[in-house]
Amino acid sequence: MRPLDLTEKNPSKKVTIYFDGKPYEAYEGEKFPVAMLANGLYWLTTSTEGRRRGAFTFGPVPVKVNGVKNINGRKLVVKDSMRVERQRYDEFQEQIEIDEGKPILRYVVDVAVIGAGPAGLGAVEEIGGKLTVALIEERSWLGGDMWLKGVEQEGFGNPREAIEKLTNFPKNVRVFLKTTTLGVFDKGEYFLVPAVRNDQLIEFMAKRVVLATGAVDSIMLFENNDWPGVFRRSDALEVINVWNVAPGKRVAVTGAFPEEITPELDRWGIEYVVVPNPRRVEGEDRIERLIDENGNVYEVDAVIMADGRIPDINPITQAGGKVYFKRGYYRPVLDANHRIRDGIFVAGSAVSIKPHYANYLEGKLVGAYILREFGLEAEPCIYEEKLRDYEPVARPISKLPLDGFSSEDVQICGCGVTLKKVDDVVKSGITDLQIIKRLTHLAMGFCQGRFCLFNGALLVSQRSGTPMDRLDIPVARPPIKNVKMKVVAGRD
């Protein structure tokens, strides 16, 4: 077994890949960052500012593959003899091969459900068999965040068994995995939902849209929080439960919600320590130690941020939705039928943070509203009633480490924006988030603010005294996920 493998892998799938010239053991179908992690390698790419980066915290992971630069390493699937090399973010392929491109696929459906977590699956369960559905999921599995869990879930029991039951779809439900939605566009008669799968453009035309697009992990601010070996909770869960690889030999769990990961670490017997108040991580091309605010030093090789989740507001604001601030996060303004506007429904942790089962019920609820809009029988009140048992999670608003930290080492955004850079602008007297964004490039890079805007808002709020709900929050612009120009450049 490789140093961080949790289970024996299938020997018939064993391949060799080369990273910066050195051979490594990998398994067919594995993602490149997972294969490297299993071998104990965290540093995969380098930011334009020269910071070493891994694949499990923020920032893009461009790598050179078989001589071609600027390939997304995060999604790269290994193949035998593949040669991968590190590169800097700003390197790109100047000489390119021009291929024909792939033809556009088009599907006309009653409902496009975006996101196949418990909420999306709940919606599909409600409407499937009655309406035609396209279920669009960016990741390679169904069940969203719940698929990443090994321990029993309230209301569901064993998460995988529950998902398997939910994914026994009737004929009129088409599932699109590894398919990334670019946005929702109003065409009057219908909504156009363009998406990309394996560099091919797919256009969904739907009468109704369900945004079951979920939440994102909160990024914690401490010194060197972008170091290779810092994990977002969801990435740690994925490497453990989907790929059966440990994040490290000895792991530190930080943040306000350690219980969101520790039962999973217990399950696999991964050694860990809970450190609520990290100040700095240090190491060479991987983490060697974590130092907390009291000066305690922990010898660890991985750090998992478990500081709770916040709704991903980008799909919502791009589609024309408004947001408000409640319980410690921004969330969509919904009408009585759970819509951000006519025809566009939201369900699950895109609405508020709550248990998987509640998200599933909310999906069912939205499905019931949709059935009604199509003149079919449905009883949304059943789900409304049940949902009352679930109070959404309140996320404590963390106090930012503004003073006493060396803020040039704290990355607020993966695109080279340090806490210091943003704080300096705020301290110069500019306290409008909209202007700060443009002067610092916060929320203007690869993630479009998904992981950094919230902390930017928090910084402005705490420095200026303006409450979070009074800030002018920038809206997301299409594409809501990055897309290669060639994918949309074709003409038909």
Binding site: Q93, I435, M444, G445, L471, R477, K484
Partner: protein
């Protein structure tokens, strides 16, 4: 959204806090005038922060060439004095047939007459300037190395900061709702946050000009309409990859360049309107990608980070409206900048400040005469990008 208090009175009030309103206020305050800018959202939130960053002197008539020559002098001076990114990396117009070459030769002659060093170059020379170009269909290029680009964010913010240092007041998140007029004289403005007493008003709202004119009760025909234009930006790549603004009329009226931050920014001639809608469209994303990848094939493999929309506030001849409206005392307009209001702003600020403080200017303000539409004296169409 923190904002300063609306002052009770101000000698001069500028409506609109885009680059034009902010630089006018900066210039007036620098000359010692009491001036307030009222902006309904935040500084730059209109078209300014949505623009393509380009600054060129390659126009097709004398007046715009003169105006832009002065503007570039000011861009150079203030970028050094106030420390914001402005680079003279040139404008490169790719030409694909004899007709285009002929038209550009004419333009080059005008530009040269005013000392602008534009010249016709070969496709190979163009490729030396931007090695990523596909020149297989290019027959020549019009090249002026003294054109350039600037960061709309940093420049506007710096002008705002220095305007305040000179005593101007900038009031954000405040919308002008109505004029208070007595006997043809402006007495004040009603806003969403109270009333301000003022005697001189400058309408620098560009795309919203007609609404402000209507509030002021102006009857003179001033046709400025808002059109939706969109732009795109890619992931940042190595600095220096696309130094100049590259223009191709053949390929969708495209313009593109690299920002100081490294992304490739630009747009195409994809116009909708008149409309106040600013929703970015899927069709634009496809159009711009189709054309850009034909001009620079390497862009195919770059990630699109974002698209967005802004306004071209357009007049029938694509030239702005700058001057005093005699119906009302004292009311000025500086608006209707089409796709070139960012680049012109610094000269326009000087022009307007001259008109307000001296009643005359050495810059060719006559070309932008607000009464030309009434008189049916349209100018030649100004060369427009996008």
């Amino acid at each position: 959204m923190p904002t300063k208090k609306l002052p009770e009175r101000s000698e001069i009030t500028v409506i609109g806090g885009g680059i034009v309103g902010v630089t006018i206020a900066h210039e007036l305050a620098k000359r010692g005038e009491e001036v307030t800018v009222i902006e309904k959202r935040f500084i730059g939130s209109g078209s300014t922060f949505r623009c393509g960053t380009g600054i060129r002197q390659q126009f097709n008539d004398e007046a715009n060439v003169q105006t832009m020559k002065r503007s570039v002098e000011l861009w150079k001076r203030y970028s050094e004095e106030y420390d914001f990114p402005f680079e003279q990396t040139g404008y490169l117009f790719l030409l694909y047939d004899d007709d285009e070459v002929k038209a550009f030769k004419r333009n080059i002659a005008i530009q040269n007459r005013f000392g602008i060093p534009t010249r016709l170059i070969t496709p190979e020379e163009a490729k030396e300037i931007v090695p990523l170009l596909d020149i297989s269909e290019v027959v020549a290029a019009s090249w002026n190395p003294t054109d350039g680009k600037a960061s709309p964010f940093h420049s506007t913010a710096k002008f705002a900061l220095h305007a305040e240092e000179f005593g101007a007041k900038l009031v954000e998140y405040t919308e002008v709702k109505d004029f208070i007029v007595e006997n043809g004289e402006i007495k004040g403005l009603k806003t969403s946050r109270g009333t301000i007493k003022t005697g001189i008003v400058i309408n620098a709202t560009n795309a919203w000009t007609k609404l402000i004119n209507a509030m002021a009760g102006i009857r003179t025909k001033i046709p400025i309409e808002p059109y939706k234009h969109q732009a795109v930006i890619t992931q940042p790549i190595k600095q220096g990859s696309v130094k100049p603004m590259v223009i191709s009329f053949r390929y969708g009226h495209a313009y593109l360049t690299q920002t100081a931050h490294g992304g490739i920014i630009g747009g195409v001639g994809y116009e909708e309107g008149p409309t106040y809608d600013l929703t970015p469209t899927y069709e634009f994303m496809r159009e711009v990608s189709y054309y850009f990848t034909r001009i620079i094939p390497a862009l195919r493999e770059l990630l699109i980070l974002r698209t967005w929309a802004g306004y071209y506030a357009k007049t029938p001849d694509s030239n702005p409206v700058i001057g005093k409206i005699e119906e009302l005392s004292d009311y000025y307009i500086a608006a209707g900048f089409s796709g070139h209001g960012f680049m012109m702003a610094l000269a326009v600020a000087e022009m307007v400040a001259d008109l307000v403080t001296k009643g005359r200017t050495d810059l060719p303000a006559w070309w932008y005469d607000p009464y030309r539409f009434e008189r049916g004296e349209l100018r030649g169409r100004a060369l427009q990008m996008g």
